[in-house]
């Protein structure tokens, strides 16, 4: 399964990744982080195609994307 890892302490909840995701994998978290932002959350991991668009548009470099089953 493809993996999207979001560093929730770096995320400021701008929503760019949520809007750009073609599979609607991401959504806002219901809990805020230590800075008071509602970060993005990987909600529907099973439908992720590993395109990496979310990481490309993230202004805070909070996202890493991996393809494949291992790890």
């Amino acid at each position: 399964m493809n993996r999207v890892i979001i560093n929730q302490e770096y995320c400021k909840g701008c929503g760019y990744c949520i809007q750009i995701c073609p599979q609607k994998v991401l959504s806002f978290s219901e809990e805020f982080n230590t800075h008071g932002y509602y970060p993005a959350n990987v909600g529907r991991r099973e439908v992720c195609i590993g395109c990496g668009f979310c990481a490309q548009v993230c202004p805070d470099v909070a996202i890493s994307v991996y393809r494949g089953d291992e790890l």
Binding site: N2, E9, Y10, K12, G13, C14, G15, Y16, Q19, I20, Y37, G50, C51, G52, F53, A55, Q56, V57, C58, P59, D60, V61, I63, S64, V65, Y66, R67, G68, D69, E70, L71
Partner: protein
């Protein structure tokens, strides 16, 4: 397992101090990626400006010098001339490069200094609280133009790229935006070309990066990006504005 995206090696693992939705982090990431790909981090020197862009020195793992307001191209000139083997770049905002530092950038370009400049244009003064910049659009409401920018009193938006392209000393001038993955890829190519222009000693290179300032535009991040696409990109056309002969071959 295949890595699709990871933080570039030259970018420190630190949270950015910028407001939500600001493209400074994205622009700095692209510069770090290009520095990694060209393997030039050990001989690159950056020149920081005054304004929000200043925080670049905390995030990219190369040597940095801080310039007085707008004087980064002059400092970069000095570094490049005294240490010719280094790769020197300046990273400046619109208040820095297009307002107080107009003289420095125009003369650095006209002398054909072999440096690269990255110019973040968000059409407003960010750090000082949203005052009108020379790059603000006509009709744009800011702290110091509450009824919108007027030609009669404040003149026209400042097209720095087109101005520098006229100069014979400039080799590569491009304007890019970072609003979607396709444009981000193009922007990275432009940044790579700017560095390669310098490595191949072709002359002065500048990349203008259009960026939103959601805080001072008084818009949520997603609406700010939409405003950028509709208004800023209509006034400031993106694309390669000048590619001197010889530059394309080098890339």
């Amino acid at each position: 397992m295949k890595t699709v995206f990871e933080r570039p090696h030259s970018l420190f693992d630190l949270p950015y101090p910028y407001c939500p939705g600001c493209h400074h982090g994205l622009a700095q990431r692209l510069i770090a990626e290009v520095i990694d790909e060209l393997s030039i981090s050990d001989r690159t020197i950056g020149v920081g400006p005054v304004g929000c862009s200043v925080y670049i020195y905390e995030h990219i793992d190369v040597d940095f010098v801080m310039g007085a307001h707008g004087r980064s191209p002059a400092i970069a000139t000095g570094i490049k001339r005294s240490r010719p083997g280094t790769i020197v770049f300046s990273y400046q905002g619109d208040g820095d490069i297009a307002a107080i530092g107009t003289a420095e950038i125009i003369h650095a370009a006209n002398r054909g200094e072999n440096i690269s400049c990255f110019f973040i244009n968000n059409a407003i003064y960010g750090m000082t609280g949203g005052q009108m910049a020379p790059t603000s659009l006509l009709g744009q409401k800011t702290q110091t133009s509450p009824r919108g920018r007027k030609v009669q009193t404040e003149g026209y938006p400042f097209h720095l790229c087109e101005m520098l392209a006229v100069s014979e000393g400039s080799a590569y001038i491009a304007r890019v935006a970072l609003t979607n993955p396709r444009l981000i890829k193009k922007a990275k190519e432009a940044i790579r070309k700017a560095f390669l222009t310098q490595i191949e000693e072709q002359g002065f290179s500048l990349v203008e990066i259009l960026s939103p300032c959601p805080t001072n535009w008084r818009l949520p991040p997603l609406e700010a990006v939409k405003w950028l696409e509709e208004h800023l990109m209509a006034t400031y056309r993106i694309g390669e504005i000048k590619v001197k002969e010889g530059v394309t071959n080098a890339c």
